[in-house]
Amino acid sequence: MKAAVIVFPGSNCDRDAATAIAHVTGTAPKMVWHRDADLPDVDLIVVPGGFSYGDYLRSGAMAAHSPIMAAVKAKAETGVRVLGICNGFQVLTEAGMLPGVLMRNQKLKFICRDVLLKVETSNSDFTRGYNAGQVIRIPVAHHDGNYFAEADVLDRLEDEDRVAFRYCDAAGAVDAEANPNGSQRNIAGVLSEKRNVLGMMPHPERLADPLLGGTDGAPMFQALMKVLG
């Protein structure tokens, strides 16, 4: 698997993503600077968490227009897998690569803690390592993770099996109490139409090493490695 991690000046989970990928797959990804207009030959692109350009206006708004994002978009169109985590998810929605927006958390506060996610589909290269319906534990750390899209967009996402994860409780129940940030229909991650782009607010790279308290993030990278070699 040849992976690249995009580095914006305010990215701060770029190293974490690279470490997790190297830890799970044994190969360190390439780090690509935001001002580069080209991407190396890769089959997985990670847009990591952080505060891309400070995110003072809207999270991800400025990064969506960076030189590198044009290249990421072009690669995605050829089928290259793109994984946007947290700020990366925000960037992908702002760039129009995924539907919806991430608004300020309903309670307005930054939230950093483990949440439970229900894997809604195993039909993607990112989620094949899980069973549909499985409950996994992954941390969130965000101020703007409140997923919003118009009802018809949400219906379509559901019809096309493009909701990857929802916030849930230990029994897998998807309800308001399990929703940490006010996301519509508890959505924590969505797939693109071609299913090769995944955006998610939780950080799988943060729980891929038992020393850090869990490994529920690891199957994502293992599954990608299986497909991508």
Partner: protein
């Protein structure tokens, strides 16, 4: 202020210089200073920059150990971690600004302490924050808590440094003077530490970071003057932080530090360009000439006075090797930060500032630094309180007492706070907030760093020497409880008005107690900060010498937390039974009384008990460990149970009076060990001279004492519920 503004006695007084001090200015200058020069004297001689009231006593603190690479005097302290690595850390207060503008005050406090650490070549790897607010029911408190916590998080989260620990306390003495103490720990190569001592006549002096604006002018003098009711009305300018720029500054500085371009570097903290340029030149015994027209500014028509005294954030000053300007500029261009060569080092021993083609200030550096006032302020020893007999404390049913303690403002979970902090970014957080000390892995190694922040201001108020000693011992104990070897501390001395002998007495005695503990525990002070005049209308805060402790774990996988790891393990109490209720949380929170002498710390016992615990943890014999502090034994049992969701049953021999369950005798730990190992564990402890008793076992869904139980669910609702309900 235009440089032609006349320096009148009123202006001198406004700058906080006493008539005596001004006479010294005249003597040094050999003439009357102009307004810019006066401004420079005023900030350099402010309490904040000169430590004029505290220096005499700070000097008495032990600062050396074989593993100390650099003690107090630089931007931060440096200790050796072995294998070519060093930890660099410091704690600093941002009390007054946070009271006036809680979000920005706290945010810029975090920004400032981060700069102190990366200035020395370290990548910041962890932040802590020690917060003290007024009474929970004071009308201002909630607003201040909300703003400060959001500000600490807003800054730290954006720069991407995990905030892994801290303290939150409420007490009416902080109603008008909250405390925001922020600590940063960084990691550097031990042979690549950067210092502030300038060298090389003719070397370029370079300004990098954000542009200079009119913000925070007089911040340093503000931090040194007592608050009065109307200062809220005057509302001095506070600075706004820009964490994104700070993040860029960290990356750019570290990138440049990987080359050999930098001779010396210093962040622009309090008193901005003045103190940074002054200190660099002064340490090197050199002079400096600065062209103020070259300083990047964000506003028009800024005067020399304003540029020199501005406290705009996210700025650094460096001395470069000659010829390295282009290399350095390319790095800062890459990170889109301002970069300007603004001056050169000279051999004149003077600071010469030019602007608009003329000289706007010209002052001698050494005499100014050497003549900085240093006071031996009068002090009186604090009145010691008699020991309070446990029998004088009315007994409340233990179950009610426990629920009230873990569910009250002092003992409730701080989750509401630390869940607003990204405590996992950087991917090395092994022990998250909520335990005795946070543990992070040293990136790319098997080793770990532990960090904690501690002080019990009620103890210090009752007996400053014992309280100071206890704060150091508690930090040491918290590090020990996760299995770390305590290395060194940073301190943040928050006190009232030092011109009052009884306050000065608190300061002196606290230093004495701290010093004693540091020596006995091999736990030297390597950096620190003093915040005095925390007083409103003559009402001082509780004396609060916050101790930030750092320890090392040779094998981070061997660290233990406070949560039980399974049912059926044995609980062992180490260090003896509880007896002491004077100044306890039980007495304060349940009876509203702050009475009696605080529990004494026997430093030899402390060390013996701690060394035993640490050794057993490293041997893999301990499954969970918690030191006994506020609330004593039963609160510790409950916290361990709550952290894991696994209950505990303990047996007290005979009746269990409040002093046994809630006494705050020092030097004690509670550990969980495999049931089969319990007897051997107790025997080993006793052989080491450590009193030990098998107390009970883990399991069930309640905390039970002699068969009487309180459901964990009920305790949890109280413990986790207080803070969110309070802030709702």
């Amino acid at each position: 202020m235009n440089n032609t503004v006349a320096v009148t006695p009123e202006i001198v007084a406004e700058h906080g210089l006493s008539p005596d001090e001004y006479d010294r200015v005249l003597e040094i200058m050999g003439r009357a200073p102009n307004i810019t020069e006066l401004g420079i004297f005023s900030v350099m001689w402010s309490e904040h920059c000169s430590y004029k009231s505290s220096k005499k006593w700070l000097k008495t603190l032990p600062t050396k150990a074989p593993w100390v690479i650099c003690g107090p005097g630089e931007n931060a302290g440096v200790v050796d971690l072995g294998d070519g690595q060093a930890a660099i850390f410091k704690m600093e207060s941002h009390n007054h600004p946070s009271f006036i503008e809680p979000y920005q005050g706290a945010a810029t406090g975090v920004g400032g302490i981060l700069r102190d650490v990366f200035t020395m070549g370290a990548r910041p790897v962890a932040n802590l924050n020690a917060l003290r607010f007024g009474a929970a029911d004071h009308p201002k408190t909630r607003h201040l808590v909300a703003g400060v916590v959001a500000g600490v998080g807003g800054y730290g989260n954006c720069v991407g440094v995990p905030t892994v620990g801290g303290e939150v306390q409420f007490h009416p003495s902080y109603n008008g003077n909250i405390l925001v103490n922020a600590m940063t720990i960084g990691v550097a190569d031990a042979d690549k530490i950067f210092y502030s001592e300038a060298s090389g006549v003719g070397n370029p002096v370079v300004y990098v970071g954000s542009k200079t604006g009119r913000d925070g002018i007089h911040g340093a003098t503000m931090a040194s003057a007592e608050f009065s009711e109307d200062s809220e009305e005057k509302r001095p300018t506070v600075q706004v932080g820009d964490p994104f720029t700070e993040k860029l500054l960290i990356e750019a500085c570290l990138e440049l530090m990987a080359t050999d371009a930098i001779v010396a570097i210093q962040d622009m903290g309090a008193a901005g360009l003045t103190s940074s340029s002054f200190e660099m030149a002064s340490k090197g015994g050199l002079g400096v000439e600065i062209d103020l027209d070259k300083v990047p500014v964000r506003e028009t028509a800024m005067t020399a006075y304003e540029i020199m005294l501005s406290e705009s954030q996210e700025r650094m000053l460096m001395v470069l090797q000659p010829g390295k300007e282009d290399l350095a500029k390319a790095v800062f261009d890459k990170w889109e930060l301002d970069f300007a060569v603004i001056g050169t080092l000279t051999d004149t021993g003077r600071m010469v500032l030019k602007m608009g083609g003329g000289v706007v200030a010209d002052l001698p550096i050494d005499p100014l630094a050497q003549a900085a006032p240093e006071y031996d302020r009068p002090w009186v020893p604090g009145k010691k309180q008699p020991v309070l007999a446990a029998a004088d404390v009315p007994e409340i049913s233990w179950a009610d007492a426990l629920k009230a303690l873990v569910g009250g403002p002092d003992g409730a979970s701080r989750r509401w706070v630390w869940e607003q902090y990204d405590h996992m970014v950087m991917g090395d957080t092994v022990q998250r907030p909520g335990g005795d000390a946070a543990v992070i892995r040293l990136h790319g190694t098997k080793k770990g760093l532990a960090a904690t922040s501690d002080v019990n201001p009620r103890y210090v108020a009752a007996d400053a020497a014992e309280g100071g000693k206890q704060a150091v011992a508690e930090a040491w104990r918290n590090l020990t409880a996760v299995g770390a070897t305590p290395l060194a501390i940073t301190d943040n001395m928050n006190f009232g008005n030092p011109e009052r002998p009884e306050i000065m007495g608190q300061f002196v005695e606290a230093c004495q107690g701290m010093g004693e503990a540091c020596i006995a525990l091999d736990f030297p002070v390597v950096s620190g900060n003093v915040s005095l005049y925390n007083e409103t209308n003559g009402q001082g805060i509780l004396p609060t010498p916050t101790i930030g402790g750092v320890g090392l774990l040779p094998d981070v996988e061997a660290s233990v937390g406070i949560g039980f790891t399974g049912a059926g393990d044995a609980l062992v109490l180490l260090g003896g039974e509880g007896t002491w209720l004077g100044q306890s949380l039980y007495l304060y929170a349940l009876h509203g009384r702050s009475e009696g002498a605080p529990p004494p710390v026997d430093l030899a016992v402390e060390r013996r008990n701690g060394d035993f615990v640490r050794e057993r943890i490293r041997a893999g014999a301990v499954k969970a460990c918690h030191d006994l502090s506020d609330g004593g034994l039963l609160v510790a049992v409950a916290e361990m149970a709550l952290a894991s969701g696994i209950g505990a049953r303990i047996a007290m021999d005979g009746p269990a009076p409040h002093a046994k369950l809630f006494g705050e005798d020092q030097g004690r730990y509670l550990v969980a060990v495999a049931a089969a190992d319990a007897d051997a564990f107790v025997a080993a402890a006793e052989a080491a001279g450590v009193p030990a008793r098998k107390l009970g076992e883990t399991g069930g869904d309640a905390v039970a004492v002699n068969g009487e139980a309180v459901a964990l669910a009920e305790l949890k609702a109280a413990h986790e519920g207080w803070f969110p309900a309070y802030m709702a």
